[in-house]
């Protein structure tokens, strides 16, 4: 009876996945036919005529003047996730060291709990805090320090220019970074705890300092697991929607010219545009969002499978609190 019930239950995740992918593919098909590869490189997001004028392109009825290109969304998704990783990976590894070695367990235990708790805070609340508190603080007190002191030369000028009001690329990246730190840090901490004591003690006995033991013994021991955790965090950052929709500025069709500009991501675009897309009588706007969703799902799935393969191979047990 257990066996039968279990077998029936396993049909649910499999069926759900087939259902999700089938719906996305069917819905996205008209958009794929009309835009082809141009969808990946184009930069405009134009719904076309809203007065009922339609034309036929490649056998698909679309509003006159409709043109969709997802490049700014793809770029925004990759940029924010990259910033998130640059912030989160070193912070997480150092936090994991602090929790396992740097602090007495009487202090480390409650702090470790706080770190795990961050993963459980609903993303809409993190977004609210990001847009009301963190963004304005950074734009007022932190970004100007960087932007005004950066020399106006190629590459570095990306860090200069207008810093805006706190909604935009780097704020989104940092908010995402804060959201994925618990995922990476708690997995890394569990990995560190699995490193056998003998090599560590041996290294200390040879006169290595804490920092040298950490860098030359502990970290290399679990390297692939830490990489897996970081990629798992990347998967979460790529797909995060609500917090980014609140702090990115949600500007369509623009790749931010510098580190601070407003932009949007694939996920944030779907959530902010689905309402108005539903008013397109030809269904073409909804189809383009389906293609964006398919693209995002593809990227996230590839990243997640890679991460899980790495984590599984390295035998990491740690499961973070949040949805990873």
């Amino acid at each position: 009876m257990w066996r039968l019930g279990g077998r029936v239950a396993t049909l649910v995740p499999v069926g759900a996945l087939v259902f999700l992918l089938a719906v996305l593919a069917v819905k996205a098909w008209p958009a794929i036919r009309v835009s082809g590869w141009g969808y990946l490189t184009g930069s405009s997001w134009l719904p076309g005529s809203t007065y009922g004028g339609v034309e036929k392109v490649h056998g698909v009825t679309i509003p006159v003047g409709a043109h969709y290109g997802a490049w700014p969304l793809i770029a925004g998704t990759l940029q924010t996730s990259a910033i998130a990783l640059v912030f989160a990976v070193p912070v997480s590894i150092l936090t994991a060291f602090a929790l396992t070695e740097g602090l007495p367990s009487r202090i480390a235990r409650p702090l470790g709990f706080v770190v795990e708790m961050v993963a459980g805070i609903p993303s809409v609340i993190i977004g609210l805090w990001g847009v009301l508190v963190l963004g304005p603080f950074l734009a007022h007190d932190v970004y100007p320090l960087i932007a005004t002191h950066i020399p106006n030369v190629p590459v570095l000028s990306y860090f200069g220019g207008s810093v805006g009001y706190g909604e935009g690329l780097v704020t989104s990246g940092l908010v995402l970074g804060l959201m994925i730190v618990p995922i990476i840090a708690s997995t890394t901490r569990d990995l560190f705890l699995q490193v056998p004591a003998l090599p560590q003690e041996g290294a200390r006995a040879l006169g290595m300092t804490d920092a040298e033991v950490a860098r030359r013994v502990t970290l290399p021991w679990v390297r692939s697991g830490v990489i897996g955790a970081a990629v798992l965090g990347l998967g979460r950052a790529l797909g995060e929607t609500i917090a980014v929709a609140m702090v990115s500025g949600s500007v369509l069709g623009v790749v931010s010219p510098n580190l601070y500009g407003t932009m949007t991501t694939i996920a944030a675009t779907i959530v902010s545009q689905l309402d108005s897309a539903a008013t397109d009588g030809t269904g073409f706007a909804v189809a383009n969002l389906a293609e964006a969703g398919l693209l995002l799902a593809g990227i996230s799935i590839a990243v997640n499978l890679a991460a899980r393969a790495i984590v599984r191979r390295s035998g990491a047990l740690g499961a973070p609190v949040g949805r990873a």
């Binding site: 077998r7 259902f19 999700l20 602090a98 949805r323």
Partner: protein, 293 residues
Amino acid sequence: MVEIAPSGLPSTRWRHVRARLFHLLMLGALALVVGPALWLVGGVVARALPGWRWSVLTTLSQGTSGGLANAVVGTLVLMAGVLVLAGTTGVLTGIYLSEFAEGSRGVHVVRVAIDVLAGFPSIVLGYVGYVALCVGLGWGFSLLPALMILSFMVVPYIAKSTESSLHQVPTAYREGAEALGMPGGHALRRVVVRSALPGIVTGLLIALSIAGGETAPLLYTAGVTNNLPTWSLLHHPIAYLTYYVWTDWNQPSNAAHVVSYDASLILLVLVLVMLVVARVIVARTQRHSESSA
């Protein structure tokens, strides 16, 4: 004292400076995580408390003003529904994967499906729910599509936490049950699942806190209403807390901001209480794990 260091290696003094620096960086990184967390919780509390009135929990919403009773009940209904749907499916899937999967064909497909589903962006789930269930099947914004989408989202999590807590049941327990001649199903229920129960319940609590705190999959499946949830699964929208945080924070009125802050505070308390309970269960029941058995 003369520092003796072979040429090419850093001096002892420099090595100790680096060790001190490493300690500072460690504490700095921890502060970068814990600081914002406390800042965030403090920020929400500081904004919500001054205007807090308990009637929020008992009066219905008027959109950008009024109470949040409909949203509180709605979120609880959604969580209860997820517990029933995703809880049963996820726990059974986890038991199957842990206890019966060996040698069974197709189990690899299930594992891959679970991994892929776990990585599915929540807004894409919401999109599919909207176009296929609410519009495609004509169900409208209602409870059933919202529950289905939320369940798709957390089933992988529940299945995996169930599987890993079953793996941690000491082998001696299973062997003991077998040695006593217990039939397989009986042993599973009375011995194996029972000793894995704390882990399973913890996984369920965390899954529920995820479901209760989600916004993206609900915006286009649950809709919103100023009324309390009805018993109907279809055609009747249902309110939930995250909706009011998401929509009311940038409305041009103070009353709307208060609604948004109040909803945030209630959500935060709800989610944190569940996570703390989960943590307490884990702390209290370490004795069943393989390592300490």
